[in-house]
């Protein structure tokens, strides 16, 4: 029953998506603009099908319908309700289903937002692109990633989801957030393709999609931070980021997306960098597809590879198609994309954005190269090598430091050209605070050149962002906190926190593996740990052997080894004492054979880890503030629809008129009309 319903939903969504593509394609090619409004029905059916399929799968999971292969392989009667619900995205087929549902949601949202402008070919093309993507993903669910396969012999129970995916609450938030980000980039990508297809490559489509892009970017950022947090809390090796291919796969679109949300401001103000911005959007979207391929096809080793399947070639083909179409369109429209402007001085806001983009592009290139390099070498030379954490850390560290420096200087730079006096005046306080942070770090015993530089630049950049927020709120009251520039400064603060916490925690970690008898105490760094004894806890899903460990004579923590009935080996579950200054991370390596025996415990003391998650929270808040609706102009009013003009038409504004010299502060320049 559930399987049939779900299958029906997938088929409905797939056919409606194809139908929508057909309708839009026909209407756009024959220029029957009235017909374009009919797309709402198709979008409605795609959404209905997606919701039906999702509901059917959840119903199957909740009612433990083991006649469904997916439930039989990943569900279990013993799994607690929450993790039973999240089982939907604990394996490949369900993840694709979640992807489809979110994409359908974005389709509905775009259709609703642009409901009065559906006859505009730009919107028509954008919806067409989104429907093509939807048809691809629902097509996957009809073929190799079918979540609704049934079993002829119905088992009585299933193994439950992967043990690592059912012992932490973050499993309920990290994948949906990440997917909201991944899938969200479909919207600006669709509008970029639409702009290329219609030839309306002006700035209208940018303004229309900038809030969508911000939402997608915010979700992706939060999704990545939550993923790092999940790794830290669950995987038991004390780290949160190891440049694993799957982590890189989520990080790559973030890098190009971040480059885009900066460089798009140059295009909005100066009309430059059109090709570059379109390329960044296309790259971001195609990298989400490539990332899904790397994660799901099993070509790369990964600690996060929870499933292999046969959808690899299809995803790869789709990736190739997306890139070829984007590149082809950009090449074809090259003549219209020529930028009319130029940049007067490298020492200007736009110059800083250019440098920012260079660095982000280099960052993305290093990460992509490092990720696929072993495969390339294997293809050429036939033997293998590995590219791991030390490579990525070493190569990205200088880029990261340069980005921190830019974050400090760029907000103080005016558009067009800066004089050294204004710059010196605006930067002296942030620089002093950065210096103070550095001196403080040295005073409390920090060492190591890159780490110290990171601290100093972090203070510098943080103070620069704070200065902007303070100036803006002083002038505009609460409005000084909303809008892209001001929200962006809050995001900067979050990034600075993450950068400083990353530098500190990776440079000053103390790791010890202790063998302790009950009652024995050992010191790690400035902390003492006392092993009290073992305790066994049995619940419906698992049996946990906990080592009870008292930290600094205070609270008792209980890292454990958990055995799930179907699992062959035990899964470690670390326990962490989080603090403002440092974290004490406990992982049980080996439980004693007899109750009075010695336990082997890994203890890791890392400073400032907590601030990574605080930074993630600030990014979320800042993204929301940045997307907060203010008074805005509308970019593509119907007036900007294609009209053939014989002579020179009256132009609303020459680009330079928009640029005002920032008086006192450059805060308002980017946000205000």
């Amino acid at each position: 029953m559930n399987a049939a319903l779900g299958r029906g939903g997938v088929i409905l969504a797939f056919i409606s998506a194809l139908g929508g593509v057909g309708l839009l394609g026909y209407a756009l090619l024959t220029k029957q603009r009235a017909l374009l409004t009919q797309v709402t029905r198709f979008v409605g059916f795609v959404a209905a099908g997606a919701v039906l399929a999702f509901a059917a799968m959840e119903r199957g999971l909740i009612t433990r319908d083991f006649s469904m292969q997916y439930v039989a392989e990943h569900g279990s009667t013993r799994t607690p309700a929450l993790y039973n619900f999240t089982t939907l995205w604990s394996a490949l087929e369900g993840s694709i289903l979640l992807w489809g549902l979110i994409l359908a949601g974005y389709l509905v949202a775009v259709t609703a937002k642009f409901r009065r402008r559906l006859t505009d070919p730009l919107v028509g093309w954008a919806l067409l692109v989104m429907l093509v993507v939807a048809a691809f993903f629902f097509g996957l669910m009809l073929g190799p990633a079918n979540p609704f396969r049934t079993l002829s012999t119905v088992p009585l129970d299933g193994p439950g989801p992967n043990p690592l995916l059912q012992n932490h609450i973050l499993v309920a938030f990290h994948p949906p957030m990440l997917y909201l980000g991944f899938v969200g980039f479909t919207v600006p990508f669709a509008f970029a393709i639409a702009a290329l297809a219609t030839g309306r490559v002006g700035e209208g489509w940018l303004v229309e999609t900038r809030r969508w892009t911000l939402f997608a970017w915010g979700f992706l950022s939060v999704g990545i931070v939550l993923g790092a947090w999940w790794s830290y809390e669950v995987l038991g090796w004390g780290g949160y980021w190891m440049w694993d291919p799957v982590e890189n796969a989520s990080f790559l679109p973030w890098l190009t997306g971040t480059a885009y949300i900066h460089s798009v401001m140059v295009q909005e103000r100066r009309g430059m960098l059109r090709v570059w911005n379109l390329s960044l959007l296309c790259a971001t979207f195609s990298l989400t597809i490539l990332g899904t391929f790397l994660t799901r096809s099993g070509v790369l080793d990964s600690v996060h590879a929870f499933s292999d399947s046969t959808i690899g070639p299809l995803l790869l083909g789709f990736f190739g198609l997306v890139v070829l179409v984007s590149v082809g369109l950009i090449g074809w429209r090259g003549d219209r994309l020529r930028a009319p402007g130029r940049i007067d001085s490298p020492l200007s806001r736009e110059g800083a954005f250019l440098a920012n983009n260079l660095l982000f592009a280099a960052f993305a290139f290093v990460v992509l190269l490092g990720t696929v390099f072993p495969l390339i070498v294997e293809a050429i030379r036939g033997d293998q090598l590995s590219v791991g954490e030390p490579y990525f850390n070493r190569m990205t560290m200088p880029i990261g430091l340069a980005l921190l420096f830019l974050m400090a200087v760029a907000p103080a730079l005016p558009w067009r050209k800066a004089s050294t006096e204004t710059l010196s005046k605006r930067l002296i306080w942030p620089a002093s605070i950065g210096t103070a942070v550095l001196v403080f770090a040295v005073a409390v015993g920090a060492s190591g050149l890159p780490t110290l530089v990171a601290f100093g630049l972090g203070g510098f950049a943080g103070a620069a962002a704070l200065r902007q927020v303070v100036l803006a709120t002083r002038r505009q009251g609460w409005r000084g906190l909303v809008g892209r520039t001001n929200g962006g400064m809050i995001v900067h603060l979050g990034i600075v926190l993450i950068a400083v916490a990353f530098a500190a925690s990776s440079s000053y970690a103390h790791q010890r593996e202790l063998v302790l008898a009950p009652g024995e105490t050992a010191r790690v760094g400035t902390h003492s740990v006392t092993y009290l004894g073992m305790r066994t806890i049995v619940d419906s899903a698992k049996t946990a052997r906990e080592a009870r460990i008292r930290i600094d004579g205070g609270q008792v923590y209980a890292p454990s080894l958990q055995r799930f009935p179907e699992g062959t080996s035990e899964v470690g579950r670390p326990s962490v004492q989080s603090g403002l200054v440092d974290d004490v991370y406990l992982a049980l390596v080996e439980a004693p054979a007899n109750p009075g025996g010695q336990a082997r415990v890994r203890v890791i003391v890392q400073p400032l880890v907590l601030w990574l998650w605080v930074g993630g929270g600030l990014i979320a808040v800042g993204s929301m503030l940045a997307a907060f609706p203010g008074r805005r102009r509308r970019g593509t009013e119907p007036v900007s629809a294609p009209v053939t003009v014989a002579g020179p038409a009256p132009t609303p504004a020459a680009p330079d008129e928009v640029v005002r010299e920032p008086v006192g502060s450059s805060l308002r320049t980017a946000t205000d009309p």
């Binding site: 099993g298 890139v323 950009i330 090259g334 020529r338």
Partner: protein
């Protein structure tokens, strides 16, 4: 126009690079099926000197001029138990000697295991894992075939088959005689 030419050229370059990347990715085997070629192949076999679980001294050089299979195993490893009958078959035949190295296991348990499942070849204890590291064993069970001249000629992972080893040896010997 100049702008359009640059856009076109970069578009073509990017397209070609991505196409190459897609081809490379499309022709890769899944990571799980990939086998690392051992750097020891056609190199002199690392020496094995130590004590067997019975306490007798052992040195691999005693097999100079003969074929040897050096097997790495432990009783806690499922596939090792599965391949054990194949090793017994090899040891009973007269083409090759068999030597086992214990990988992080208790000698007592190993003795009990051999008593139950048969096996009368030298089993060397490797408490520090030194021999295992010398042979670069990533994951047991794993076996190396060593030729009479003392070079490693083949590596068998995740379970050895007696027939495959015999066939391999006869193919080498045939070549040597010709």
């Amino acid at each position: 126009m100049k702008g359009s030419r640059i856009a076109l050229i970069s578009a073509v370059v990017v397209g070609v690079i991505v196409l190459l990347l897609v081809i490379v990715l499309a022709t890769r085997d899944p990571a799980a099926d990939r086998v690392t070629r051992s750097p020891l192949i056609s190199k002199p076999a690392p020496p094995i000197a130590g004590r067997t679980i019975e306490g007798q001294p052992f040195d691999l050089s005693r097999y100079e001029g003969e074929w040897v299979v050096v097997n790495f195993f432990a009783t806690w490893c499922g596939p090792c138990k599965q391949e054990h009958p194949e090793l017994v078959k090899l040891a009973q035949g007269d083409v090759t000697n068999v030597v086992s190295v214990v990988f992080q296991d208790d000698p007592g348990t190993v003795k009990a295991f051999l008593k139950e499942h048969g096996g009368h070849w030298p089993v060397i204890n490797d408490p520090t894992g030194k021999i295992t590291l010398e042979y670069g064993v990533p994951k047991i069970p794993e076996s190396y075939l060593i030729a009479p001249d003392g070079t490693v000629v083949a590596k068998f992972i995740s379970g050895i088959e007696a027939n495959a080893v015999t066939k391999l040896i006869s193919s080498f010997s045939g070549r040597a005689h010709r």
